[in-house]
Assembly symmetry: C2
Homo-oligomer: 134 residues x 2
Amino acid sequence: MNIGAAARRSGVPAKTIRYYESVGLIAPAERSATGYRVYGDRDVETLRFVQRARGLGFSVEDVGSLLALWQDRRRSSAEVKALARRRMADIDRKIEELGEMRATLGHLMERCHGDRRPDCPILSGLAGNPEQGR
Amino acid sequence: MNIGAAARRSGVPAKTIRYYESVGLIAPAERSATGYRVYGDRDVETLRFVQRARGLGFSVEDVGSLLALWQDRRRSSAEVKALARRRMADIDRKIEELGEMRATLGHLMERCHGDRRPDCPILSGLAGNPEQGR
DNA sequence: TAAAAGCTTCCAGCGACTGGAAGGTCAAGC
DNA sequence: GCTTGACCTTCCAGTCGCTGGAAGCTTTTA
């Protein structure tokens, strides 16, 4: 199958497949006599694996590690779990950051009329006047 | 004051101040006879405003709009609030995405022993075998 | 046979910086 | 007066993960 078919079956765009190959995340595909990349079912599975791992927010580099572990029969699950734990910590940190932004923005928005008047606690707050608009 | 002092007082790195100038977020600073950028207290306030808005996750482009609104006496608070609402929606969407990742990753991790055995539901899950490891 | 679809490589751009090189300027100490 | 070191300047390149587009093959379809 050509790259387009592999893209359709895996959900990874053809451009992205080429990109993954170029950065060494996946092995270079075999080529037809005329230079077209040729893929098999296993390649599609690999691409799906990559897609799911990326969907969980693992970096391309970490997906590389996960792929290597996946293909290694002698791996220990501890290594995989360690990677997952780090990713989980990242997620939690980001959720917390966003939560703080949400809270701050929410406080500012609450006091803003949102009408034609120029008075605006959001801008005052950004300008560093925390009590303005009460 | 030179760029270094402005950076210290505003919390925005000198490199970043130059970058903000280069992309038109802030007005070009005046220059000394020898070409050094010169800043006043008002510039520092502007930089702090930018810093706070960026801290809430507004894009540089949106910070530009907020700055313009801040400096416009005739602005309506409605415009500001609309920008804030969009940002809030972004935040909520991201929190939700991260929450879903968290849940999925959590399910996979729960079943993973994390020891020397190669058996690993995290990898099976990424490979698309949802019931593996139960 | 010709057009359309699909493939190839290569280069550029996104956002928001950040690092580094090469070189000019300024203040302090000797 | 000179040196040293901190500070400033510009410009280019790199980060991350793609994505768009140009120019030019190949394959399929009508």
